[in-house]
């Protein structure tokens, strides 16, 4: 799977989580960019990605992420 394909799937996850079909995310996007991106949303985003990409993340990996781009990199490293 290419980085672009991963990004497309993550965009869908974000749009579903925040119920906004027009939401645009970038590699630099983080919680400060989206109003409803709180700790509960974080749990749901990560769990949705685990289901989508059929992988598990540990809490250390999740805590070290600074933005969406690093999440994409993490997913690529586990594929």
């Amino acid at each position: 799977m290419t980085r672009e394909e991963i990004f497309e799937k993550i965009t869908i996850i974000f749009r579903e989580e925040f119920d906004d079909d027009s939401l645009v995310i970038t590699d630099e996007s983080n919680a400060s960019d989206i109003e409803d991106w709180d700790s509960l949303a974080q749990v749901e985003l990560v769990m949705s990605m685990e289901h989508e990409f059929n992988m598990k993340f540990n809490i250390k990996e999740i805590k070290e992420l600074k933005n969406v781009g690093e999440m994409v990199d993490l997913i690529m490293s586990k594929l």
Partner: protein, 138 residues
């Protein structure tokens, strides 16, 4: 009240309890929510719209999922984070409900469980199904 910690629960762990729906429950729900829709109190209205009698509020039936999480699975340490439900069949006064939940998934990173839930009537029909994502108080 159960007091399960995250570590004590395995995938497949199941809890259930029974509750019978009464008109008093409907009255209390109506008072709390202000939902005075005649479908939930007027038999003539309900029959006119194809039901055998006035039906219980769907959200009253769903409220027993709070009991399931808060008292049984996991119980005292429960924090409900997310609930998805579908209403399958109407519930009526006098129906005995079996409310059940089974741990379908555990997430070790966030210490949350996903519980597959169902509420069945004593005639075997499933009134409600769905899932809850539940965290644990530290």
């Amino acid at each position: 009240m159960n007091t399960f910690d995250y570590e004590e629960l395995d995938t497949g762990h199941r809890e259930e309890f029974e509750v019978t729906v009464t008109d008093e429950m409907l009255d209390s729900f109506r008072m709390i929510t202000g939902d005075d829709n005649p479908f939930h109190r007027d038999d003539e209205f309900a029959v006119r719209h194809g039901f055998k009698e006035h039906a219980a509020f769907g959200m009253l039936t769903a409220s027993f999922l709070s009991t399931l999480a808060g008292m049984y699975l996991p119980g005292e340490k429960s924090i409900i984070q997310n609930t998805e439900i579908k209403f399958m069949k109407p519930v009526y006064v006098g129906d005995r409900l079996i409310v059940s939940g089974e741990v379908a998934e555990k997430n070790d990173a966030f210490r949350v469980i996903r519980v597959k839930v169902a509420i069945k009537k004593d005639n075997g029909e499933k009134a409600l199904r769905g899932s809850m994502q539940i965290g644990f108080l530290e």
